[in-house]
């Protein structure tokens, strides 16, 4: 039956780098968050944003607090407890003709986490981030008071919480608007793209024509074909295009053991990229696909993070502003290849205008995400990439981050003083904190 928790219990994010700590599970968030310093959902953020700064911190796991408190089929407005998982939401509402307005690349995320990270998806250029669709939040503050916030009620708290990594208060309930969908199927087109400049142009060309776009790049190709990859675009299929039957339920496979550390090296990555590229060899492909392979290709293998072995991994995701031009993207790709962060997954996305969340990640430009196995070199690689991003006027995604230095973050984030002012007002003693806020904002451990 197990033994009482002792000091050796650990917590980790999706990148599997553990820190001492213990999560407290509860269905009753209102009771559990009293005195807590941090909430975490499913722990899918890669770095240390859902990890405690100190092993004795009370960290509440919200995933059992998953009740849907109200849903209006007329307006699509849904109110739920923060721990409701997107996988559940999809399972329940896709068959009824509704979908979340914005979805990240995994369905294993809670609605509270979607607010705290202000997640974006393949439709960012049209719909913005998830926060743009949130109507109100119920929160427990550092003072232990419970308040509601929205665009009109405590707006400063509302905008600092959207994308605020859970540092302004514990999110208890989220009210947002679901979208109607024309069918449970996606019409998708994929296209082979020769190099990075062509990629930027193709993304720009696809954006006004498609509600959802994303690109996949083979980062190991250098020289003339640097940035070679596949562009995928999609929209909800019309009832006529849709297949008669509902999409098959996902039959998840799980990776039952961790790969040895040597399994990810540039050779295996090249083999993977080569296979992926040639699968899309037909210059152009189109057809109807289910939501699972379109939105969540990696979710099909549960615990895929184990491929990186015991050393763990991180993801580097940045956005380079449109003003920096396609040249900056090419230079970034060149720098990345030169630094040698082997990545089986490099995702490129065209982002729309910046949202209102004070620390929301996207801004108008190009977002690039790469996975990196953690090594002795990781800090140096992240530093170099960050220096490039700062010079280009871009920024990084806190949800993926575990290595950025405080001074680098301050340099890339002109909105930081406003965010810190909101924290000063709502949590002057910095009671709410994470390992990430300790690293980036100097919060007490």
């Amino acid at each position: 039956m197990g033994s009482p928790a002792n000091g050796q219990s650990t917590l980790s994010g999706w990148g599997r780098v553990p820190v001492p700590g213990h999560e407290q599970l509860s269905e009753n968030l209102e009771a559990a968050t009293r005195g807590a310093v941090l909430c975490r959902g499913l722990g899918r953020s890669y770095g240390d944003s859902s990890l405690p700064a100190n092993a004795s911190d009370k960290v509440v796991a919200t995933r059992l607090a998953n009740r849907i408190l109200a849903f209006d089929p007329e307006t699509g407005i849904l109110r739920a407890e923060a721990g409701l998982c997107l996988a559940d939401l999809n399972r329940l509402f896709i068959p009824r003709g509704y979908f979340t307005p914005v979805t990240p690349g995994t369905k294993f995320v809670t609605v509270g986490g979607m607010v705290a990270s202000d997640v974006h998806g393949k439709n960012h250029h049209i719909e913005g981030c998830f926060g743009a669709h949130v109507r109100s939040l119920r929160m427990r503050l550092a003072s232990d008071d419970i308040v509601t916030c929205s665009e009109t009620e405590n707006p400063d708290l509302f905008y600092a919480t959207i994308g605020g990594m859970g540092l302004l208060g514990h999110i208890l309930e989220v009210e947002f608007k679901m979208h109607r969908i024309s069918s449970p199927w996606i019409w998708m087109e994929s296209e082979r793209v020769g190099d990075i400049d062509e990629f930027i142009a193709a993304l720009g060309h696809a954006a006004p024509r498609w509600p959802m776009t994303v690109g996949w790049i083979d980062c190991l190709i250098r020289g003339a074909s640097l940035g070679r990859g596949i562009l995928m675009a999609g929209r909800w299929a019309t009832p006529e295009e849709a297949k008669a039957e509902p999409p098959p339920l996902p039959r998840n496979k799980t990776l039952p053991f961790e790969f040895p550390n040597w399994a990810i090296n540039s050779l295996t990555v090249q083999a993977f990229n080569f296979a992926y590229y040639w699968k899309h060899m037909d210059h152009r492909g189109s057809g109807v696909v289910g939501t699972e392979p379109f939105f969540y290709p990696l979710d099909a293998v549960l615990h895929w993070n184990r491929v990186y072995g015991a050393r763990g991994f991180t993801q580097y995701q940045c956005v380079l502003p449109r003003a920096a031009g396609p040249r900056a993207v090419r230079e970034f790709m060149e720098l990345m290849t030169k630094l040698g962060g082997a990545s089986p997954l490099c995702v490129i996305k065209d982002c729309g205008p910046e949202g209102k969340g004070l620390l929301s990640f996207p801004l108008e430009g190009t977002s690039i995400a790469i996975d990196m196995a953690i090594s002795a070199d990781t800090q140096r690689i992240v530093d170099r990439l960050n220096e490039f991003v700062i010079a280009a006027g871009g920024r990084i995604y806190l949800t993926k981050d575990g290595f950025t230095r405080a001074e680098h973050f301050a340099a890339m984030e002109p909105r930081l003083p406003k965010f810190l002012a909101a924290r000063e007002k709502w949590d002057p003693k910095r009671r709410l904190r994470s390992a990430q806020s300790h690293r980036l904002f100097g919060d007490p451990a």
Binding site: M1, G2, S3, P4, A5, N6, S9, Q24, L25, S26, E27, N28, A32, L64, R67, I68, L69, A70, F71, P73, L78, L92, R96
Partner: protein
């Protein structure tokens, strides 16, 4: 199925109530705390498009005088029920129980005596209509006397034996009695304990339990791995049990 769930506002009971509501079964919640019941009922309504209403009533395993009234309220709301599921119960570590004799009395009373009394109310009503399902959460802790769960396990042992006997006695009359023996499941109840490597999640347990009810099984271990673990534990000689701290 028209099911009453005692303990449906939290933990594994909540997960079962959600699954039943999602597939269109009628659900009525019993539990303590009006707010929790109300919010949980709203959740179940939202999970199924044609669900008109999900009713609830206060029913406290510490207060046997609430049992009959709560079951009558459920009966009226569902216009007859054919399944009663009991997941409610108390838990505390052995250390805490040894230090608190009053809580020991409460736990043993709630988890054994009052649960049996509730089941007697429920099975009489079910049998009056020709049978149905009575599903009750016992525990793997009731299979052997073990050091870390000596008191909790003894109450669950009594409950398991009662449920087995009910099954023998009323199976022919149409009553399916299911004794659920969960192993370690990550819920608020076990929040202070360090989970073993094969700890389960409430959703997994809910799926197992509903499948077992549909198949009219008399007993299940869940998650399934515990059937193997307990097979070994049940056959361990006493001198080995004495040595290990499992």
């Amino acid at each position: 199925m028209k099911a009453i769930v005692l303990g449906g506002t939290s933990g594994m009971g909540r997960a079962i109530a959600q699954r039943l509501a999602e597939r269109g079964d009628g659900v009525f919640l019993l539990g303590i705390g009006d707010t929790e019941l109300e919010r949980s009922a709203a959740d179940l309504k939202s999970r199924h498009p044609s669900r008109v209403d999900v009713g609830y009533a206060v029913c406290d395993l510490e207060k046997p005088e609430t049992f009959a009234g709560a079951l009558d309220a459920a009966d009226a709301a569902l216009s007859g029920f054919d399944a009663v599921i009991v997941t409610a119960g108390l838990f505390a570590t052995q250390e805490k129980l040894e230090a608190d004799i009053e809580f020991t009395r409460r736990l043993v009373t709630v988890n054994y005596a009052n649960t049996v009394v509730f089941c007697e109310h429920a099975r009489k009503r079910l049998l009056e209509r020709g049978g149905g399902h009575l599903t009750v959460f016992s525990s793997v802790a009731g299979d052997r006397g073990r050091k870390p769960v000596a008191i909790y396990g003894s109450a669950k042992a009594g409950l398991s034996v009662y449920l087995e006997a009910l099954d023998h006695k009323f199976h022919a009359a149409g009553l399916s009695v299911l004794c659920v023996k969960p192993g370690f499941v990550k819920t608020a109840m076990t929040a202070g304990l360090k989970p073993p490597p094969f700890a389960g999640e409430p959703d997994q347990v809910a799926n197992d339990v509903i499948r077992a009810m549909d198949a009219r099984k008399p007993m299940i271990y869940t998650p399934g791995i515990w059937a193997l673990v307990m097979l070994v534990i049940r056959w361990l000689p006493r001198f080995v049990m004495r040595k290990i701290g499992f």
